[in-house]
């Protein structure tokens, strides 16, 4: 017989005690994994909601004011559309959804409207120069933000147009704001003539309560042709990752586009930064609490287990076991329970999050494989720590004292 036989025998013949220990570890880890899984998705959901607030950085011509951006002054200055490529090819982290726009007041019949030329996202992604720079498609996603696929997959898509990139828009099509649509009596598919050119209404947008309601959107290059501005735009809207903005993104953009005026849409940025800070704090507090609860539960069991086996420790030391071999025996048990509890806790926690996440929080939770590694590491570490101290105490005692206790 080898000493490790004691380990297996103890685990096997004291199944109920082993199960209670395993349960303590499993539940401790399950709580951590479950809450962490839901928290991670909640954070992403909040980020997506924040991103749905739209662009938060405006690039305007040096001489333009923010008022010009909102009022679409006919004489408002412009700058070359090439600036979009400068920003895109700079590969600045935290920059997403570049949206160049040219806005002017025009008349449809006798009704004055604001016509805004926008470049659909699919055209931005297909620019040859961007493709050669490896920036096509999803590569443009901001480093800190969720990809559009994630957004759609989680049903967080916002129907509002305001300061968001449009996926596709054919040259002969218009998107019409709700107020303008009512005023011009337009419906999806209606024909509209602007500056002598006929367009089809691709869609009348739902009411947003913003300046978008008063605007008609057409393809940027069509608007440029129609207004005879050449390749000029009046603004570039950028969705900047708010942590990147805090890290000086505006300064970096100003270096790339020195002859422009770069500003943030303060309300949005402030909301994003404040919410992110709050989420980060709440997550940290939650993480610390659940780690403590999980750790205490595991350590408590391991501690009690070693304490109740003090007599056994005394007997083994009396019969000639070294302190090292007693350590190995107890810490090996802790490792085995930690590994089993880590796996069980991960599975239980993930399963609970998958089932309860959508029902209680309305969030579709996905398994996070990396949590398995963390669960194993954490469970084993806590089980070892919880066993180590009482084992240390027991082996430091005179075996004679332990024997005389009983």
């Amino acid at each position: 017989m080898r000493l490790r036989t004691l380990l297996w025998k103890e685990l096997w013949l004291r199944k109920s005690r082993m199960m209670s220990g395993l349960l303590a570890i499993t539940l401790g880890i399950a709580v951590i994994v479950g809450i962490q899984s839901v928290t991670a998705v909640s954070e992403r959901a909040v980020k997506i909601k924040l991103d749905n607030l739209g662009a938060n950085i405006l690039v305007l011509p040096q001489a333009a004011s923010v008022d010009d951006y909102y009022t679409a002054d006919i004489d408002a200055p412009t700058f070359p559309e090439d600036y979009v490529e400068r920003v895109a090819t700079s590969m600045l982290p935290g920059v997403d959804n570049l949206s160049p726009k040219l806005t002017r007041r025009v008349k449809v019949g006798d009704v004055p409207v604001i016509l805004t030329g926008i470049l659909p996202a699919n055209e931005l992604a297909s620019k040859p120069i961007w493709q050669s720079a490896g920036l096509a498609g999803a590569e443009l996603a901001a480093a800190c933000g969720p990809s559009p696929e994630v957004n759609k997959g989680r049903s967080f898509v916002d129907e509002k147009l305001q300061r968001k990139a449009i996926d596709s828009l054919a040259p002969g099509e218009l998107l019409v704001g709700s107020v303008v649509g009512q005023r011009l009596n337009l419906k999806d598919g209606s024909k509209v003539v602007i500056q002598g050119r006929e367009f089809t209404t691709a869609r009348v947008l739902p009411e947003t309560g913003t300046i978008d309601d008063d605007r008609i959107y057409a393809h940027l290059h069509v608007v440029q042709d129609l207004l005879g501005t050449g390749s000029q735009v009046s603004a570039i809207e950028i969705m900047g990752c708010c942590s990147a903005i805090s890290d000086g993104l505006l300064g970096k953009l100003r270096n790339i586009l020195p002859d422009t005026r770069i500003t943030t849409i303060g309300q949005i940025v402030n909301t994003q930064i404040e919410t992110n800070r709050l989420m980060a704090k709440v997550s940290l507090i939650l993480l610390v609490i659940i780690f403590l609860v999980g750790a205490i539960s595991i350590a408590n069991y391991m501690w009690a287990n070693v304490e109740e086996r003090r007599r056994e420790i005394g007997t083994l030391l009396t019969l000639g076991a070294t302190r090292g071999s007693v350590y190995r025996l107890f810490l090996a048990k802790a490792t085995i329970l930690g590994l089993l509890g880590g796996i069980g806790g991960y599975l239980l926690g993930t399963f609970s999050a998958l089932v309860l996440g959508p029902q209680l929080a309305g969030l579709a939770v996905e398994p996070v494989p990396v949590y398995l590694a963390w669960s194993l590491l954490f469970a084993v570490a806590i089980a070892l720590l919880g066993s180590w101290y009482p084992t240390y105490r027991a082996t430091r005692l005179d075996p004679a004292s332990i024997l005389q206790e009983f």
């Binding site: 017989m1 103890e10 056994e312 000639g320 070294t322 004679a400």
Partner: protein, 229 residues
């Protein structure tokens, strides 16, 4: 073979110092059967565990074949307990989740080196102690007498030279006590092992060929094992 030279053991606490042993001098020859008696708290168990290398004396020397146990490292003391000493304790101290057979093998498994013949040795020992049909029983499935016999079999696992028995009949009725004492006498007389037994029982005390009596940690009688100071 076993010599104690002015062995003193004192325990200090906030309430003061308590002397469990004072200036004990003994010389125990190989093959002796020594009984230690004395009132409760007189230091009997402390003396036994000091000989067993479980308690380091505050002062004095404990020699085994000329080696002072106080100079040995923890590892060497553990090896001494494992290979030279067999412990038989009042409350048996069997590992509750191991069978009689496995309990007997524990000291063997703690010994570094070869692991062969453990099973054969354990079976032979249990057979000798009349437990051939109880090998696979857990301690709770055995009577107290049988448990003490398993404890004796375990003590013999590494064929030790010395058996240290701490009130081995303390939990047993007179019939079972006689049975256990008879086994210990056999181990002494037939095997030639040294047996040192702490006991409260006058009958058990009479089994020893030599007798030590302690009072308040002092040796007041050392019949045949007294050492000159």
């Amino acid at each position: 073979m076993l010599g104690l030279e002015r062995v003193t053991k004192a325990y200090s606490s906030r309430r003061g110092t308590v002397h469990a042993l004072r200036d004990i001098c003994l010389k125990i020859e190989r093959g002796s059967f020594v009984t230690i008696t004395g009132p409760s708290g007189s230091g009997k168990t402390t003396l036994l565990l000091t000989i067993g290398g479980l308690i380091r004396p505050t002062s004095g020397r404990v020699e085994f074949h000329g080696t002072d146990l106080c100079t040995l490292s923890e590892r060497h003391l553990a090896a001494y307990r494992n290979q030279k000493i067999g412990f038989v304790l009042q409350s048996f101290n069997l590992i509750p989740y191991l069978s009689a057979y496995e309990n007997t093998m524990v000291p063997m498994s703690l010994r570094n080196g070869a692991t062969n013949n453990h099973e054969q040795k354990a079976k032979a020992l249990l057979d000798r102690l009349g437990l051939a049909d109880r090998m696979d029983h857990l301690p709770r499935e055995l009577s107290v007498g049988q448990q003490q016999r398993v404890a004796i079999a375990r003590a013999l696992g590494n064929d030790p030279e010395v058996i240290l028995a701490d009130e081995p009949t303390g939990n047993l009725d007179p019939t079972l006590s006689a049975e256990i004492l008879s086994i210990l006498r056999d181990l002494n007389e037939k095997d030639g092992r040294t047996v040192i037994m702490v006991t409260h029982s006058p009958e058990a005390a009479r089994m020893g060929r030599h007798h030590v009596r302690l009072v308040d940690g002092c040796c007041v009688e050392a019949d045949g094992v007294a050492a000159t100071r």
